[in-house]
Symmetry: C2
Subunit: 352 residues, 2 copies
């Protein structure tokens, strides 16, 4: 912690006092930045960009050159794990991810293996090492993974879906098969996150993009329990136990009580959840991250500043707030508006 010149994020995640509220942005290295689009063009396609450590490092650092952000997050994709399992990932602009070999049977699940970390995912750790080196302690580096449930959803659906019919059919008809899949993914996620720490990540985040399509009981059984086991594995390993872990379930605001009991250090909030109510719910157990509606960034600077203020006010006085959007930044946003937001967070939250 002391080795970082800017440790606001780590302090806030541990609910310690800060000089002002730290801020970073989900998908801060992304298509809204012209320099990102340039590097992406150079890479040829999205996966090449992810798999070329020099390029992943470059796009990771781009937003930090523009904005006064309090963290970097390694540029990668949540689907690197199923890709490493041999499912044949492709990502096409506008269409979303697609797997050539989606999981369609218990037999296919039984054939899966936890990836060999250095052999199959070494490019991610290379990128983390490289970014860690270039950052040189200026700000912390966040490593991440998709949640086991979210990864399972993509692996079984094979592509973007609106009704989640395949994964839910598996859940209803063959819950034990789904648990077997989640077990493999839970072990993979824990190992993958631990390896990112070994390579230089200072904070970890688990993105549960699709936990919110489950009922309250299914969420606990199929999403939260797997995340909890991943967190427990990290917290019982000497190398990773002191690394703050952020859980983010999009649409999970109703389940914060159980999520806060998972052993994680912070919960990501989408913008439907009041931070004030969330604080009442979680007490002092965890910090909170969020939760400006990404659509606010399309508005004018004064609207953005008032909206930032409103999020800060909603959290209120006290420690344990990391400012972020409630979901990833969208491609059409004007980068100048991002600067307005980042600067407003620091100015309006400055402790006197």
């Amino acid at each position: 912690m002391s080795k970082l010149r800017n440790d606001r994020l780590l302090r806030a995640l541990r609910r310690k006092p800060v000089d002002c509220t730290p801020v970073w942005i989900m998908r801060q290295a992304g298509r809204y930045l012209p320099e990102y689009r340039e590097t992406r063009k150079q890479a040829g396609d999205f996966l090449t960009l992810c798999k070329t450590p020099e390029l992943a490092c470059e796009v990771t650092l781009q937003p930090l050159r523009r904005f006064d952000l309090d963290a970097a997050i390694v540029f990668s994709d949540i689907l690197t794990i199923p890709d490493a399992m041999g499912l044949g990932l492709s990502v096409n602009e506008g269409e979303g991810p697609r797997f050539e070999r989606a999981i369609d049977s218990k037999t296919a699940i039984d054939a899966l293996r936890v990836p060999e970390l250095e052999d199959d995912l070494g490019y991610v750790f290379d990128a983390v090492r490289m970014i860690h080196h270039v950052l040189d302690g200026s700000v912390p580096l966040i490593g991440f993974a998709g949640s086991p449930w979210t990864l399972a959803t993509y692996m079984v659906e094979g592509q973007s879906t609106r009704d989640f019919a395949r994964i839910k059919a598996l859940m209803f008809e063959q819950p034990q098969a789904l648990h077997a899949l989640l077990d493999i993914l839970t072990e993979s996620v824990s190992g993958y996150l631990a390896a990112q720490v070994k390579a230089g990540a200072d904070v970890l985040m688990i993105f549960d993009t699709w936990g919110g399509v489950l009922s309250h009981t299914e969420y606990r059984e199929f999403s939260l329990s797997a995340m909890r086991r991943s967190v427990e594995a990290l917290k019982s390993d000497e190398m990773t136990r002191h690394i703050p872990v952020i859980l983010f379930t999009k649409g999970g605001g109703q389940w914060f009580k159980e999520m806060a009991d998972s052993g994680c250090d912070a919960l990501g909030c989408d913008w439907t959840t009041s931070l004030a109510i969330a604080r009442d719910t979680v007490g002092k157990r965890v910090a909170l991250q969020g939760n400006l509606d990404p659509a606010v960034l399309y508005a004018s600077p004064d609207v953005i500043e008032r909206a930032v203020e409103s999020v800060l006010d909603d959290f209120g006085a006290g420690d344990g707030h990391v400012f972020n959007l409630g979901h990833g930044i969208t491609p059409g946003v004007n980068p100048d508006h991002v600067r307005v937001m980042v600067d407003a967070v620091h100015q309006k939250s400055a402790r006197s």
Copy 2:
């Protein structure tokens, strides 16, 4: 109430004892039924089906011939009001609704008028009268409307959207213009619902499909407040004050406390909300409707039966539960599975 031979729905909405839990299904008259697809083909297109009272009556009654449902719901669309305002609605299979003249300015909002009910929407009331006549007191008839916010969303976006960029830009940049639009829609919705009651509707429901894309504060300001005013108008009119009103905000589980204070009689719950937790939240103020995940209907009969039991158990003992799906039934469902669900609700909830 006494004129109905099956008044389970009305009793449950008023939190009175019932012999077994009433059940109906959102979009129960729909594409999963071969006889619906046949009538739809006969009509030529979706809007002609809505606008031809004989055909709307026919498809409304189709699910009641197959299943032991405790209510009919008039076959119509939530976008009849903006269509009657002259926005030029078209609905194409697979693509969703589209307006030829979307609302793109304050000037366009100022030009809008509350529709002339009998002139512009008479076909809906004709259908209600016809269905009411044919039902002849066998089960209650539900009338409905889209919420002002949800209608505004479609009117401003002009078509289906994933990011709600236009309506949110209006909300952030010109909140007074959006309020002017919501005022017109609130008045239209109240009048439209009252006219359905006059034509024979026994219960009313307001569908707030898109309230869940708002933040907690925006939801109160732009969606709930308009619904509350619609409900107040209905509750202050001698003709409609005794008609139960159900509010349903998809994704609104976090806001049940405020929703229950709106003056409505029941809240619709999507499947992410625990009915037990919702009951704790709303107390005895309102009944609850829901909330089986529609995807369960793709599962096998024994899974469906267990899932029905689990929803009934989640609500627990006591009055005030209307069984439904947590969202509309999807086109691919096997009608035999719907029968399994409906019969299981009645059997497993039968009071001895």
